[in-house]
């Protein structure tokens, strides 16, 4: 062991050569899994509360959603644990598999998928229904992280034009497919995650701002040209004038605000949220799950939930900062961005400060695909942390020459 240890020339940290040290140390990050399991466990409880009076047609069991989400959570935890036995680095070489799989899935959903809320984003896989874009989100993080850190190899400039161009190409392909469903909310998350990863990748910031400027410009051009209709825009921007449209598109928002607001300081008590339990808030077990939280456990509970989410995000970025290599950093950062953007937009939408776009709240919203996907994501982050001191020769070469 002793001789396999080496000090990094660059930052003076202990490093372990991968070849010799198959023995990844048991230096888990405990905070991340504890926070994640707690939050997801609490999510299952809240889903029970939200759905105990509203089962799907033909189902009499009030625990229907509770059980299903519970099984998914158990599965997700198993996946989380199993994934720790693989070195995440090994996944890098499969980036093209991930990319093609994502694209095939997203095309499949366009052809075979069925619509929920006007967007064709669900696949019927006999045993369960899946939302491919959820998995594609995590896979895209892997693909972008690989491209920005490893492929194509460049020597002098770590993240040069080629990498940015290829990553943008890969990201655009998936984003466009998601837009075609059309699922603007998920597309927005994809885009923001990609931009976040580009930002921390070390690429010249001119690329970052260039892409941002072109995208925003394109968005306004799309409105101008009528590609995005005014009513679609109104739908998104209803949060700016919710009181005008209480019964129209603003209904969800109004009911959600009513539910959250009525929770007050301490809430009405777990399982006792009347607005949400009685289905006054639509989608209250999926996209609007936070309104149940706000109503039932009040300001203190809601803030506690936000703090736990913040802790998870913090751990992701902490892992990113200490990943020891660019690939790991980008993976952890990418997952962190997914959780950050999704949480802020989702919670913001339930309390009326963000546009109402249908995206789930990570760890808490009902749904197997998104729970499994986000668990895959944080499992990767944990994996990156566990192996933060491992280096490949290639990496050491880069580190030390840099």
């Amino acid at each position: 062991m002793q001789d396999s240890a080496k000090k990094s020339y660059l930052n003076g940290k202990n490093i372990i050569l991968e070849d010799e040290g198959k023995k990844s140390r048991f230096n888990f990050d405990l905070i991340l899994p504890i926070a994640v399991f707690l939050l997801a466990g609490f999510g299952v409880l809240i889903i029970y509360s939200a759905t105990k009076y509203s089962m799907p047609d033909g189902v009499a069991d009030p625990m229907y959603y509770f059980k299903r989400q519970g099984y998914w959570l158990i599965g997700a935890i198993v996946v989380f644990v199993l994934l720790q036995f693989i070195n995440y680095r090994a996944l890098a070489r499969f980036w093209w598999v991930f990319l093609s799989f994502s694209i095939i899935m997203l095309i499949a959903v366009l052809i075979f998928g069925y619509e929920v809320n006007n967007s064709r984003s669900w696949l019927d896989l006999k045993f369960f229904n899946a939302q491919p874009s959820e998995l594609a989100k995590i896979l895209m993080v892997m693909v972008i992280a690989t491209i920005l850190s490893k492929w194509p190899r460049e020597k002098v400039e770590r993240v040069g034009f080629k990498k940015v161009a290829f990553s943008l190409l890969a990201a655009s392909a998936t984003i466009i497919l998601v837009l075609l469903e059309p699922d603007y909310g998920t597309a927005l998350i994809f885009f923001m995650t990609y931009m976040g990863m580009l930002f921390i990748s070390g690429a010249n910031l001119l690329y970052f701002f260039g892409i941002l400027a072109v995208t925003v410009g394109g968005f306004f051009a799309a409105i101008q040209s009528g590609l995005i209709k005014q009513y679609q825009l109104d739908r998104i921007l209803v949060f700016l004038k919710p009181d005008i449209e209480r019964q129209g598109i603003g209904y969800n928002l109004f009911q959600s605000k009513l539910a959250v607001g009525s929770g007050g300081l301490w809430g009405k008590g777990l399982f006792l949220g009347k607005q949400t339990n009685m289905s006054y808030v639509p989608e209250h077990h999926t996209d609007f799950i936070f309104s149940v939280i706000g109503e039932e456990i009040g300001f203190f509970g809601a803030v506690l939930v936000i703090i736990v989410i913040a802790v998870i995000i913090w751990r992701c970025f902490y892992v990113a900062a200490n990943a020891g290599n660019s690939f790991g950093k980008l993976i952890a950062g990418g997952i962190g961005f997914i959780i950050l953007t999704q949480s802020v937009i989702n919670i913001g939408m339930t309390i009326g400060i963000m546009p109402v776009i249908g995206i789930p709240l990570p760890f808490l919203s009902y749904g197997g695909s998104n729970l499994l996907a986000i668990f895959l994501g944080v499992a990767l982050v944990e994996n990156v942390y566990m192996r933060r001191e491992l280096r490949t020769n290639y990496e050491i070469a880069y580190d030390d020459f840099d």
Binding site: V260, G261, G264, M278, G298, F299, A302, I309, I351, G352
Partner: protein
């Protein structure tokens, strides 16, 4: 993230209570449970009117109007026209009408349909409402009155501001209207939670209703039956008779009878002809029936003629006689000679007695007995001469006997009548400048109950009750007792001590002597030929009021037995000819029933 927390703080902590309240309101609904209306009984405890529960279809217009499918089902199941339904619901498109009764008394099949399909019909409910059932059919209709659905105007008024809502049955006339607060009871209330489509989920609170209290009336329903039958059959008889010296029959479009307990002024019976059946109002009156009741051809059966003003004619001479005696214009010993014509206002303005040949020398007793107009012209004229600026004497005594103001009977729409005086005439004839002055002739006319004088049969009964009770002024009334659910007496009505008008007993004795002779040998004697006047001495006064352009109105006021009076009867018939011929026989028949004289 911090932004989210700040926003949450504003939403939940700063304005949490407002949201909580609004949220609560958006979940809770409450509906009232109607209380059965109190029953109405007669003085002997016989049930007259009761409440029966009846299923009705009620809708919340705010919910139903947004659901075309429900509207279609309602129309087809209840047999309504779509346009009518929309009209009815849109008319009530105001927040306080949360419930509109679409149809009452639905059949069993329809009831089952609505109960079984309630989940498909948001905003529609089957409610039990209470409707009236009349044990004696149309008897005493004018006293009992009818009930009906409250309208928007009433809902807005302060009288109905508490405890009423759209679809409620309220008393609209008679006892039902006057004792609405006694009879209505208090509604129950069920508060429950609803889901977003308005389907009830669970009951939060249930307040039971309190049934309305029962009313016991002063009327005797058996007597009422007798009186109404006598009145109606007599009117039919009179209609067969011809007006003297013409080919015309008497029209007798209507009439009224009041029977009072002489001492307490409890109304034992009050009949008005023509009458109606209050049950046609149950469950909403049909437009055909309503048109019938309001067609002038049918003489307005809804009107209670016992409390409407009519020219009294000679029955008013009670007031003139007492005024003359009290103001010492005449006394027992003074005789006025009747030659059939009176020229007190000058030869250019002669006035005649009803008996054109004249009565000869008349004193107060014989003048009443024969209803001599000449005597009372003179009394009226001399009273006018004694008037001073501040006081018109005949009017003063008319007011004393209760004319010109309502009696205060517990019935709605009571007419105060008219006692014309200087001020009244100035106001009433202000369009005709030369007729605004009060002439002596006006007082002279009024002295025999003519002119612009209008009195109601009930006022007349009250005025004679003052004579009967020697100056005590009772208020005639219909309410006897209010009783609770267990039959316990909650309130006794009409037991106030009557005010004493401090009248002169001797004068009243004189008038009574005159009235006794009216029956025994005077204007009404022919009608009481077979009556045992020895055992049951009867006092009476006939009246015949002339109305320009119409046949004479007949009156008869009577009480018996003299000495210990039990009953006061007033009979008034429109366009029936002289009171002695038309009205007096009715009173005689009622006496036969009251004193159980049978058919001998």
């Amino acid at each position: 993230m911090a932004g989210l927390m700040v926003r949450l703080y504003f939403l939940q902590v700063m304005s949490g209570e407002i949201y909580a309240q609004e949220a609560q309101e958006s979940i809770l609904r409450s509906k009232s449970v109607p209380a059965p209306r109190g029953n109405i009984y007669d003085r002997n405890g016989k049930l007259l009117v009761k409440s029966i529960p009846m299923p009705a279809v009620a809708v919340d217009p705010r919910i139903v109007l947004e659901n075309e499918e429900v509207i279609d089902i309602l129309c087809s199941k209840l047999g309504l026209f779509k346009s009518d339904l929309y009209n009815k619901l849109n008319k009530s498109n105001i927040t306080y009408l949360e419930r509109v009764i679409l149809k009452q008394n639905i059949d069993y099949g329809t009831l089952i349909y609505f109960k079984e399909n309630s989940s498909k019909l948001p905003g529609v409910e089957i409610v039990d409402i209470f409707l009236r059932e009349y044990e004696y059919g149309g008897l005493a209709a004018h006293i009992l009155g009818y009930t009906g659905e409250i309208d928007e105007e009433k809902l807005k008024s302060s009288q109905y501001s508490v405890g009423y809502e759209g679809g409620d049955q309220i008393g609209l006339s008679g006892i039902e209207a006057v004792y609405e607060q006694v009879l209505k009871g208090n509604k129950g209330k069920v508060t429950y939670e609803v889901d977003p489509i308005g389907k009830p989920k669970s009951i939060i609170e249930e307040i039971p209703y309190t049934p309305g209290n029962d009313m016991y009336l002063t009327i005797d329903i058996d007597l009422q039956k007798e009186v109404e039958e006598i009145l109606a059959s007599s009117i039919f008889e009179i209609r067969q008779q011809k007006v003297p010296d013409s080919d015309e029959n008497y029209k007798v479009p209507g009439g009224a009878v009041v029977v009072l307990d002489a001492k307490s002024c409890e109304i034992l019976s009050m009949a008005s002809y023509p009458t109606y059946d209050p049950s046609i109002f149950t469950g909403g009156i049909s437009s055909y029936d309503w048109a019938f009741l309001n067609d002038p051809k049918n003489e307005f059966p809804l009107n209670n003629r016992a409390v409407m003003g009519y020219p009294p004619g000679s029955v008013f001479k009670l007031v003139t006689a007492y005024s003359g005696l009290a103001e010492e214009v005449v006394n027992k010993g003074r005789y006025i000679t009747c030659r059939g014509i009176w020229t007190g206002l000058g030869d250019d303005y002669p006035k005649w007695c009803w008996a054109k040949s004249g009565h000869g020398a008349m004193n107060i007793i014989s003048a009443i007995q024969n209803s001599c107009d000449i005597y009372f012209y003179e009394v009226g004229y001399e009273l006018f001469a004694k008037n001073n600026n501040s006081e018109e004497l005949l009017q003063k005594y008319a007011g004393l006997f209760g004319f010109g103001s309502i009696t205060g009977v517990d019935l709605p729409y009571e007419d105060p009548g008219v006692v014309p005086d200087k001020e009244w005439k100035k106001e009433y004839f202000k369009e005709q400048k030369d007729n605004t002055v009060w002439f002596p002739g006006d007082t002279v006319n009024m002295a025999i109950g003519q002119g612009d004088l209008l009195t109601t049969p009930l006022q007349m009964a009250e005025a004679y009750s003052i004579l009967v009770n020697r100056g005590l002024k009772n208020t005639p009334h219909l309410g006897l007792e209010v009783r609770g659910e267990e039959g316990e007496v909650i309130a006794k009505l009409g037991e106030n001590k009557p005010p004493d008008l401090d009248l002169n007993f001797d004068y009243m004795e004189l008038i009574e002597q005159g009235m006794e002779k009216v029956v025994s040998q005077g204007t009404a004697a022919g009608r009481f030929l077979g009556f045992p006047l020895k055992e049951i001495p009867v006092a009476g006064k006939t009246g015949t009021a002339e109305v320009i352009g119409k046949q004479d109105y007949g009156w008869f006021v009577t009480y018996a037995p003299i000495g210990n009076p039990q009953y006061i009867i007033v009979v008034m018939l429109e366009q029936s000819g002289g009171g002695s011929r038309s009205a007096a026989p009715i009173a005689e028949k009622i006496y036969e029933y009251l004193f159980d004289l049978g058919d001998e």
